[in-house]
Amino acid sequence: MTVVTLPTPKRVRYAGFWAGAWRRFRRNLLAMYGLVFVTAIVIMAVFADFIVPIGPLEVDFDHGLEPPTALHWMGTDNLGRDMFSRVMYASRPMLMVGILTQVFSMLIGIPLGIIAGYKGGVFNWVISRLIEFFSAIPWYLVVLYLIMLLKPSLENLIIALTITSWVGPCRVVRGLALSVREQDYIEAARALGTPVWRILLNHVLPQATPLLLWSFAVGIPTSVFAEAGLSFLGMGIRPPDPSWGLMLGESGQWWMYRPHMFVFPGLMITLSILAFQGLADGLRTAIDVNVNV
């Protein structure tokens, strides 16, 4: 009997979950645009002080309403303030509202959702009704109403938007906790006497990470839109601070003769919403989220 030595099979290296996700993400053109644009705008917001030669609040009455020139790349507004500088600085409130709103929504939504889903009972009932309530009424109603009570400002905009958007991550986590709590490994953990908070933190929450990542991304375009829209109505960022929506609103009576006053802020609003939307869409296909959560 001859012994046949089989060639040792080549070890195949399977890509991990995140490596696969990145590969799918890279294939999505719009998602890559989103990644590049968002990176650029973050750099712009952080280093605005070093990039911009003229301050965003520097008034120059002799050079008001000028179309783009070599000195003022995007022209000047009615008070002679440099539009390029204002457009750059306005990326700060946009990013703050877009990202902080989602951060606070997660901080509120995740604990409430995970406890509601895992514990069930009266708490779950109350949270479910709250979720239904906030999904039934449109966000702008609540936000406009809260802004009216709290006076327009950056902080109040974030507070009002958080109150309407914590429902998103809360629903995601609650649904997941509900389905996971009957699993064997949770029961095993319970049998070992693991405290509830540790079960939630180590066994339930990691399951929700990809979903939450998507939920985080998909909320940002709405917040960016809300910041621009409310500032446009005069209920968001307060003048003289720059904001794209506010600049659009301020172009008031001049926009017909000085199109640069609405073109640049309008373009920035649209491009950023598109970028964040592309990022969220790309993430969804990359991590294969079931959208009907």
Partner: protein, 313 residues
């Protein structure tokens, strides 16, 4: 079906009740009031403020105010706005609503018609360059805010070409074209994508393959099997667009200076006109909840599977 309807109706009423309680109490819990907003801040004496409070019952405990309001609200009497004491809130809403309803209704119709056509073309030419082009167009157009698009349209077609007025409102069709386009075009994106998805899903289902294999002609399969099945999710998601858009977009109304309901909501919030704000909020919430209810019932009517499932329970 009847039991289901009644239960949903109860749910709607409780949501609206909670919302009214919330808006009412919150408005009065926050310090300040209609007497110290921009414009008349500091111009009123202590005595005048007290007279104002007494006149509108704002000096009474909040709960008592709410009960009085609720008793009137049941008979659809939401009081008079501070800014126009000669008319009731209901009258004001009914007076301004037609502007919003006209613009929003036309915009929704436009978006649904164009969107469905684009979505059907994309689905028919699945995975070709036409499909990709329509899909990219839908994504991009869906992210443009209406008020930004409004500026672009008003500048190009209004200020440059002089085809349409750049804003304002007169009872002439040319005043309505640009607002409708600015409101409707961004909505096309979502409609087109959803239509494509519904049709593609219906086309890849088993009964379509069966129909083909038993020799039904292509047109027969499309009309009888694909479209009828795709129509169910389409109707249930496009129908709520109409009331949602007909109540008016604050942003579009501001851009074009349309005297619609949205404008009044912002104005009344700015001047803390409690009866008007509460009235408009309740009106909106009621309208939206009723839409959801009607959609739910309609769903049962057009999709027999839902009805049967309900009976089994």
């Amino acid at each position: 079906m009847l039991r289901y309807t009644l239960r949903s109706l109860g749910g709607i009423l409780s949501v609206v009740f909670l919302l009214s309680l919330f808006t009412f109490v919150m408005a009065r819990a926050i310090p300040g009031g209609p007497w110290d907003v921009a414009g008349n801040k500091g111009t009123l004496t202590e005595h005048q403020i007290n007279v104002f409070k007494a006149k509108y019952g704002l000096d009474k405990p909040v709960l008592e105010q709410y009960l009085v309001w609720l008793r009137n609200a049941v008979t659809l009497d939401f009081g008079s706005p501070y800014m126009a004491p000669e008319m009731s809130v209901t009258e004001l809403i009914l007076k301004q609503l037609p502007y919003s309803a006209l613009v929003g209704g036309l915009a929704a119709t436009f978006a649904v018609v164009v969107g469905i056509i684009l979505g059907m073309i994309a689905a028919a030419r699945q995975n070709t360059w036409i499909d990709i082009a329509i899909n990219s167009f839908a994504v991009i157009i869906g992210t443009v805010p209406g008020f930004v698009l409004g500026f672009v349209l008003a500048y190009y077609f209004g200020a440059k070409l002089h085809w349409f007025p750049t804003g304002g409102w007169q009872n002439e069709p040319k005043y309505i074209v640009l607002p409708v386009l600015a409101f409707g075009i961004p909505a096309i994106g979502g409609v087109a994508r959803w239509t494509r998805q519904c049709i593609v899903e219906a086309m890849s289902s088993d009964y379509v393959r069966t129909a083909y294999s038993k020799g039904v002609r292509q047109t027969g399969v499309i009309v009888r099997h694909v479209l009828r099945n795709a129509a169910i999710p389409m109707i249930t998601s496009f129908l709520p667009m109409f009331p949602a858009m007909m109540t008016g977009s604050v942003f579009i109304e501001r851009t074009f200076g349309i005297p619609g309901l949205g404008q009044y909501f912002v104005q009344s919030s700015m001047s803390r006109d409690y009866p008007l704000v509460t009235g408009i909020t309740i009106f909106w919430a009621l309208l939206i909840s009723i839409t959801y209810l009607v959609t739910d019932i309609l769903y049962g009517i057009i999709d027999p599977r839902v009805r049967l499932e309900g009976k089994k329970r």
